[in-house]
Structures are given as structure tokens and as C-alpha cells.
Amino acid sequence: MESTIIKSRNFNASFGSNHVVKNVNIDIPRNHIIAVMGPSGCGKTTYLRCINRMHELIPGATSSGEMDLNGEDVYQMHPIFVRLKIGMVFQRPNPFPNLSIYDNVIAGYKLNGIKLPKAERDRIVEQSLTKVALWKEVKDSLNKKGSFLSGGQQQRLCIARTVAMEPEVILFDEPTSALDPISTSTVEELFHELKANYTLIIVTHNMQQAARVSDKTAFFFLGELVEYDETKIMFTNPKDNRTQNYITGRFS
């Protein structure tokens, strides 16, 4: 039986008086890929950023309700600990431009003041780059700057940087929208491999990507979670007309 890793109950988020996430209830199963889709402004990215408490970093942003990681309320945990457990990858690849590939991968440890012996650092770098299928491509140029890599490689480096911290959940905010189709395909293949060890929650505007990579899909509209089901069902027989209108491009 699948176990729930993230659970939201009556979860709300606002920017000042603008109520952008409304009463969301969702159970996200462990080691699954969840796609979150919906039109711009529907609250999907805000919801994603609430999962690892990035939302509260914005002035005026508030939230309420229950957001659990493994049954524990993330809003009762230290936010840094939450973000170690729930990593995040953004739309544009953002490796630290002045750091080498090697230092980019272990940046999380350095920034958190975690000191590790060289052998341990080497192991983490190799393991993380291997997990994102980048090791063979960069193993001879680990001291080069991360910004010398192609867009797709940079995004995989950012995923390696997240993976290096051994999170349980990785949040992706439109992770391939800045990549060409070949890099997108490489990253999508990577999702399937990462699923064995992590739970992936991916906000995407690309519906075909949601259909290709995810096990379950959540559709947000005007801040509400309209429908959440197996991806196969969502793309063949959605129950709510708003979902159907959105995925068939009939939203006016």
C-alpha cells in the first residue's frame, strides 16, 4: 500500500488580501511523480512554495491549514530543516556562476556550514552527479565553472545540488521550460529514475509533459484544487468540466 509523504488539509495561502490557494486537501504518495497544472495565476506555484515554506519568505505572504511531511506539520519544524528534507529546482537553471561544478554540487553543505572530510565530499559529488546522469559527462572537468555547461546540463547540475542534500521530496517549478526538447527529454528520463528514491512534485505548463512523466496529476483553477487523480484518468476521462476544458484547450 502506498504511504502518504505530503498531506495538506484545508490549506490556504495569501499575499496580503489576495487569497491565492483555497482550502487545498491533497495526499501525495511516496516515490511518486505528481504533476501540478493549471492556468497562470491559479495558485499552483504558490502551493508548491508552501510545501517547503518558501512562500513565507515573500513580504505579506501568509498561510494557514495543515501541511504535513511524514505526518509532522512542516510549519512546526525549523524552515531550514524543512528545505533540507524538501528540496527545490527552479524554472531557469541557476548554478552558482562563480563556483566549480564540484562546489555547486556540495554548495548545500557549505552554505549550511556542514563540514565534511574530503573523501566524503568526493563521494557525495560523484553519487549525486551519477544520480542525475551527469557524472560521465563532467567527471574530467569538475573544477570548471558550472556556467560552462549547456542549459540541460546546468539544470541536471541543479538537480544534483538538490539531491546531494538527500531530501525526501523534490519540488520542481517548471523545470524544463527553459530547455530545448533534447535536454527536456533527458531531464524527463531522469525524473523516472529519481522516483525510486524521492517523491517529485512538478509544476508544469506543458500538459504533454505532465501526461508523459507523472503518476498523478493535480489541476488547480482560481486557487482551488479542482481535480486530483491518476494521470491516465485525468487525460482520458477527467471528472470535472473545468479540467476537461483546460486540458483540451477550450478555456476562454
Binding site: Q244, I247, T248, R250
Partner: protein, 221 residues
Amino acid sequence: MAQLETELQLLKTEVINMWTLVNSQLSKARTAFLNFDKDLAREVVLKEKRVNGSELKIDRDCENIFALFCPVAIDLRFLLAVLKINSNLERIGDIAEGIAKYVIDAETPFTEELLKVTRILPMYEEAVHMLEDTQSAFEKEDTVLARSVFKKDDFLDSVNKASNKVLETHLATRPEDTAQALWLLSIIRRLERVGDQTKNVAEEIIFYLEAKVLKHKNKFA
């Protein structure tokens, strides 16, 4: 209107046009059969090429829409249904052609008595109605009408089932009708297939509109 919607609308019109053509083929083959009209039968055989042409065009258009628009949900179900409806309609077109060929090859009109005992005329009429009803159901997106053909098919099945015994009894006293009886039996079998294919089409309409799979299931449950 989104481009995909326009393409699907055009495709629906093509399918309806093909349906009208196949209906006309089946009805004309019936008239040719009833009136022993060899000219009309030849017309049906000639027009079969148009049915085949429509089938190929609809297949190609579906393929293009799949490739270019990656349809999902009701659009995906519509296209999957159209592919199967297309194939069933083409087969019904083949059956109309086959019946027309019997009329062309037959030497004498079928005897009134044979037509009566086999109940082939009401059977043929019901088959034509079933096809018309499914066309209306497709055009109007009416699943109640689509479901109504399941019941009508029972009559076709009953005529088909009874035909061996009926003809056996008839031939016991009228052995000279053997050749005609064999031809009629063949047409009855084909009409029974029309009933099955029309039922398949009705199932596809329900699948597309309601996302319910009725294949290999009790339709009246």
C-alpha cells in the same frame, strides 16, 4: 475556436457524410434487392469506391490530428471512436456492395414466399433503421438513442437464428428453391453482421460521450 476544435468539427462532418453515403448504399442495395433492379445494384457496386475513399481520408485525418494536436480527454475518445466507427462503416459499405452483387448475379427475383417465411424484409428494414439511428445519435450526441439500437439488434439476431430451420422446412416441400434459399441465407448472415457492426458503432458513441466501455458487456445492465 481553437484549431483542434475546428479540425474535429471538420472530421465529424466527414464522418457524417460517409455515414450518409453508407446508409444510402445499404438502402439502395435493399431497393435493388426488392425490385430486382440490376442497374441500381450496379450503381451501388460503383459507389463502393467512394466509401473506400472516405475511409482512407478519415483514417489519414485522424492520424494527422493525433500527430499535430496530441488530443486528450473527450477529444482523444472522439478520435479513437471515429477510427473504429470508420472501420465499421466501411465494412457495412462492403456488405451493401455484396448484396448488390447478388442482385446482379441472380437469374430470377426471389419468390414472395421465401421472402415472407425468412422475414428478411423486416430484418433489412430494421438494419437500415439501426444505422440511421446511430447516425442521428452521433450527430446529436445522443447516447439514449445510441443505446436504443442494442434492443433492435435482438430482432436481427432472432431472424438469423431462425433462418436455418425456416429454410429447412420450406425446402422440404419446395426443393426447387434451394439455390435461392442459399442466397437468401447468405444475405441474412450479412444483415446480421450489419446489426453487430452498428452495435459496435453505438458502443463507440457511448464510449466517446460517456467514457464508458460497453464492449463484451451486458448492454442492458
